[in-house]
Each structure stands twice: as C-alpha cells, then as structure tokens.
C-alpha cells in the first residue's frame, strides 16, 4: 500500500512537471511579446520594463522555466513589486500579488463547493438509480429515467439563476448563495452553499442515476445473486447488501473521471452565484489576460485532479476487495 502510494505520487509529480512545462512554454513562447502579455490589459510603461527585467527574458526559455520551478521551493524576489514567499507560483503583475497567495485565499470556496456537490451527486444519484432499479419498468423507474434525460440537458447558468429567483428572491426559503467559512459558522456555511451544491450536481446526478440503474440491473442478473437467492436470502437483502457493492465499482471509476468535469462545472457555478473561488479567479485573469495567474491556476487545477484521482483509486480498493493495489 505504501509503496503503491509512493509510486503513484511520483508518477503524478512527473505528469505535473510535463503539464507545467508545456503550459509554461505556451505562455512564454507563443505570445508575440510575453512581457507585454504578462503585464495585462492595463499596463504602465515602467511596469513593462520591470517585467522584462524580472522575467529574465534575455535568458533561454528553459532557464526561465528553471527559475519558475525553483521559485516553488525557494521563493522569488520581484524587484519593486514585492516578495513572493516559498511556494511561489509566480507573481501577478495585473493584481500586484503573489499567485499562490491569491489561490490559497480562494481555495476553501472551491473545495467546499466541489466536495458538497460530490456528496449530493453520489448520494442522490445512487439513491434514485437504486429506486429505479428496484422498480424496473414501473412508473417510478420511468419517471427517474425521463427526469435524468432532462436533468443531463440542463445548464448551470440557466437553472442556477432560475432557482435563485424562485427560492431566494420570491419564496425566500434559503439565503442568497455566498461563502461563509465553515470555521466561522457551520450552519451558515451549509445553508449559503446549499443552492450552489444542488445546481452544480443536477447535470451530474442524472448521469449517475442512469448508470446506477443499469449497473444494478446488470448485477441482479449475475450468478452470485442467483446463488444468494437460491440459498434463501430475501430479495431485499440481496439488493441492498450484495448487488449494490458490485454496482458501485464502475460508478467510482467514472466518478474519478468526472472529477475534472466537476471542477469545470464549479467555475460556471462560481460565476453564476458570484462566489469568489478559484474559477472566478481564473475567469477574471482571462479577462485581464493575466498570464502568471492563469499559469498558477492551471497547475493547481491539474494538481488537484491528479491527487483526487489517486484518492479515488485508493477508495476503490476499499469498496472492492478483489482490487489489489500493487
């Protein structure tokens, strides 16, 4: 187990190196004038000259990359801009702050959003899928299937404001979505994020309903289910104690793949509800052509996905005893 983890993390680091090198190359080599592009839309001439100097643009590209990479461990000093302490992912010249600090500030928002949405997706998706499979062919199954088609076709930026209009503005059932740190007030954290969670999970839940249903139906046709039934186990016990375990394995795999998409959905959700998370940071950086910030956000996003995938694989071994991590 330990050696497996070490190997996976090492592999992840290699992938992140490759991603960062490619992104770095694209950002520094593709724009006609990187310093100009790094400066952002609103650019003072003196800032431009400073950036030129600070980027060390007279040096070869791989040396510049090396500086950037080394900065993660040693920190960097940007003359007249400011200090960029140890995990330095670069310095945003447009917002005048270290990239890493800006990301760390917003990280809890995106984390709360995606984790909460994951719980809703898995709990609700699997539950409705099980109900549909339990009542195959009956009205409840048909309703679940039909609503999953519609649910999967909905867009966050349409459902989000619509639900906000009816639940927040008109009926005033829940507070307007915002981020309250969980350490400050767990209840407020929950109620203020409830709507974003639901909205973000709608498109995904439908997919999980459909998958759980078809997986359950498939599992129920397996030999081990028949054996269990032949030995006198009630169909309820077979359903809830045996079959669902087998059905969960592919669901967990696909959830690992969907995590990346979920992060994408989080960007749109944050923008919809004006939550100040990493996605909103990225969108703002795009609008200002703030390349250092984008570089940092890309690397952090990629790192999050890689790490979460390792986590999912470990989880996998717990659900399915047949899987040996080696």
């Amino acid at each position: 187990m330990t050696s497996y983890l070490v190997r996976r993390v090492a592999g992840a680091l290699v992938i992140l190196m490759i991603i960062s090198a490619i992104t770095f190359y694209l950002f520094y080599a593709v724009p006609r004038d990187p310093a100009r592009a790094f400066c952002g839309k609103i650019c003072q001439p003196e800032t431009l000259a400073l950036i030129r100097h600070n980027l060390g643009m007279d040096e070869p590209l791989f040396v510049q990359y090396w500086h950037w990479l080394a900065g993660i461990f040693t920190g960097r000093e940007f003359v007249q801009f400011g200090e960029c302490p140890a995990p330095c992912l670069g310095y945003s010249f447009a917002t005048q702050e270290p990239v890493f600090g800006a990301i760390v500030d917003r990280f809890p928002v995106t984390l709360s959003l995606t984790l909460g949405a994951s719980v809703v997706i898995l709990a609700f998706g699997i539950m409705t899928g099980m109900i549909a499979a339990w009542k195959v062919g009956q009205p409840l199954d048909k309703i679940a299937s039909a609503s999953s088609v519609v649910g999967a076709s909905l867009q966050i930026y349409f459902v989000g404001p619509l639900l906000a209009f009816y639940l927040v503005d008109t009926l005033q059932l829940i507070p307007r979505p915002s981020y309250v740190p969980i350490t400050e007030n767990p209840l407020d954290w929950f109620t203020h994020l409830l709507l974003p969670w639901v909205v973000l999970s709608i498109i995904f839940t439908a997919n999980y309903t459909r998958m759980t249903r078809s997986q359950m139906v498939e599992q129920l046709a397996e030999d081990y289910v028949r054996t269990a039934r032949a030995k006198g186990m009630s169909s309820r016990s077979v359903f809830f104690r045996f079959a669902w375990r087998g059905a969960m394995i592919p669901i967990v795999t696909i959830f690992g793949v969907d995590l990346a998409t979920l992060l994408g959905g989080a960007i749109i959700t944050e923008q919809t509800f004006s939550l100040h998370g990493i996605g909103e940071l990225a969108v703002r950086a795009v609008q200002n052509t703030d390349l250092p910030m984008l570089l940092g956000v890309t690397i952090v996003g990629a790192a999050a996905i890689v790490l979460l995938n390792i986590l999912v694989d470990v989880l996998y071994a717990f659900i399915d005893p047949r899987v040996r991590l080696s």
Binding site: V30, R36, Q155, P161, L162, G265, I268, Q271, V283, V286
Partner: protein, 339 residues
C-alpha cells in the same frame, strides 16, 4: 475534452461492429444495414419528433435573416434606447414579462434594449455553427488518431494513448478558458481589439484541441478488437495494403460508433460554446450569442427573469431533442442495447 462519460455509448460502440451482421439474418428480403436502421428509426416516435425539432433549429439558423426581415427587426438596433416608453429609468422593460408585446414578441434586452427574438434566432447561428465545425473537425482528427493508434499499435499507440489519457483527465473547462487568451495573444497584441473572426477561430481551435480525445479513445478500442478479427487478417494475408485495410475493411465497421459519438458530441459543444460566452470569454459584442444572453440574464434575473427564460428554454429544448435523437439513432443502429 472530458464530458460526463456515458457508459451506454461505450456499450453501444462495443457491440456496434455486430450491428451490420445482426440484421441480415432476420430479414427475408435482403436489406442493407442502412435500410434496416432507417426502418427501425422511423418506428421510434421519440426519435422522429426529436429529429423534427432538431431540423427546425437548423432551419431557423439557416433562415435567420429571412425570419428577421419578415419580423421587421434586427438583433443589433437598440430599440429600447431609441424609442422612449420602452425601458424605464433603470433600463428595465416597462411592459410586463420582460417587455413582451406585439412588436417585441420575446421582449427587450434590459439595458441596451435590443430585440430578444432576433437575438435568439441569430444566436442559434453562432452556437450551432461553432458546434458543427468543432464536431466535424474533432471527429475527423479523433477518427484518424484512433485508427492510427489502434492499427499501428506499439510505440505509436503508447504515445497517442498517453496524450489521450492526459487530455481526458484534466479540467477541460479550465483549460478552455485559460488557453483562449494564449491562442489570441499569439496573433493579437494585448492593446488591440480582437477581431470577431479571430475569436471565432480560436474558440474552434481550443474546443477541437481539447475535444478530439474522447472519440479517439473510443475508436482506438474498436480498432484494437477489429484488428484481431479474421476478416482483417484475411485481407492482410491476401496482401491488402494498410490503406485498403483501413478504408475498406475497418472504416465500414466504424461508421456506427462515429455517427453515434458525433451526434452525442454536438449538443455538448453547443453547451460548451454557450458556457464560454457566459464566462465572458466567448463571442464578443455585437455578434448575437446565447452564452452572452445568459451572462446578461444572470445579472438581471432579480428584476427581469423573463429575459433568462428564452435562451434557457430554447437551449433546453434543443439539447434534450438532440440527446433523444442521439439515443434513437443508437437504438436504431444497435437494437440490442436497450436503455
């Protein structure tokens, strides 16, 4: 680009190569697989209705100038600002329901006061044309890469396989918005205004670069299994060139997954394009765009929820119809995979 993965599609594709063989035995009169598919499709009521709805959207997009001319408005004029009595002091339509009236069927855009109906009609053109272009290019690239990877195997397969894995594992929405400015910065200086055509091209490029991997992975798996089949071996033994094996032996067996996959991909690209517009990195003003309508809608929904409803409901209808059509086409090609 990674989308919520559809296992059903994979399942359909896995058994897709048998679709051709499945029909020929049962029919008394000899019918081609295509004819059988068409017969099955016509009997599927949901599929036919969805096909008509999708067709209607395509027609509206094509005939947008005609519709606008008959209706007598265009999507660019700021009617609300030009004519007094349409918008109030805060820029919201005075008439109820977002200013819906005989003159402005779907109301007025808050703020600028443009006509919602023509914006919606012209907006279909933007979204749909980008989606079609991207679907066609990703399909061609994906098919080429998938077949190359699966057919050649070995090192080529390893390299392409890793590239596909990497592309599919990363937050594509994030990459999408991150690489748009980079693509443009390569051509336009930051202080210059980005021309409309360039934005259009860079959206297509970025969506394509991030999108081809899905279909490539699917086809790679297909080719891997087909390559080991007797008819391919027979062709190779008789001395058929790789080109002949690929185009005459493999491709005819791959049309089903290709068609199914691209039908399912198109609505996703419509959504992705609108998503970019919504985030403010899609098509720029004044090109009518659904994504930007959502962007405005999100800002004004407290006071004028009607404005949001039109693009929202239109898009919902289109995507649902297209998804149902995709499912029906899949069922028609491969009746064994029942949902």
């Amino acid at each position: 680009m990674t989308f919520p993965s559809s296992t059903a599609t994979d399942a359909a594709a896995e058994s897709a190569d048998t679709a051709g063989a499945a029909g020929s035995g049962s029919a008394v009169v000899g019918r081609s697989p295509g004819q059988l598919m068409w017969r099955r499709f016509r009997r599927d009521k949901t599929g036919v209705v969805s096909a008509f709805i999708v067709l209607a959207f395509f027609l509206i997009a094509l005939l947008a100038p005609v519709i606008a001319a008959l209706y007598g408005k265009d999507p660019y004029t700021t009617y609300g600002q030009n004519q007094p009595g349409l918008l109030n002091d805060f820029g919201y339509p005075i008439a109820p329901n977002g200013g819906m009236s005989g003159d402005f069927w779907f109301g007025l855009e808050p703020g600028l006061g443009r006509d919602v109906f023509t914006q919606l009609v012209y907006g279909i053109r933007t979204s749909l044309s980008i989606a079609i272009v991207v679907t066609v290019i990703t399909t061609v690239i994906g098919v080429a890469m998938g077949i190359t990877s699966g057919y050649l195997g070995g090192k080529t397969d390893y390299v392409i396989g890793r590239v596909i894995d990497t592309l599919l594992a990363f937050p594509s929405q994030l990459f999408l918005i991150v690489f748009l400015p980079v693509v443009e910065a390569a051509i336009v200086l930051p202080e210059e205004e980005t021309p409309v055509w360039l934005r259009y091209v860079s959206i297509c490029v970025v969506l394509t670069v991030l999108g081809w991997a899905t279909i490539a992975r699917l086809l790679r798996a297909q080719v891997l299994s087909l390559r080991a089949r007797e008819f391919v071996e027979a062709a190779r033994v008789t001395g058929a060139s790789p080109a002949r094996v690929i185009f005459k032996e493999l491709l005819p067996n791959l049309w089903t997954p290709i068609i199914i996959q691209s039908t399912l991909a198109l609505p996703l690209y419509v959504g992705a394009e609108a998503g970019l517009g919504f985030l403010g990195v899609g098509m720029t003003e004044p090109t009518p765009d659904w994504g930007r309508m959502f962007q405005v809608g999100v800002n004004v929904y407290h006071s004028d929820v009607t404005y949001l409803l039109f693009p929202g409901v239109s898009m919902l209808i289109f995507v649902v119809a297209f998804n149902l059509l995709g499912d029906s086409i899949r069922d028609a090609f491969d009746p064994k995979t029942k949902r």
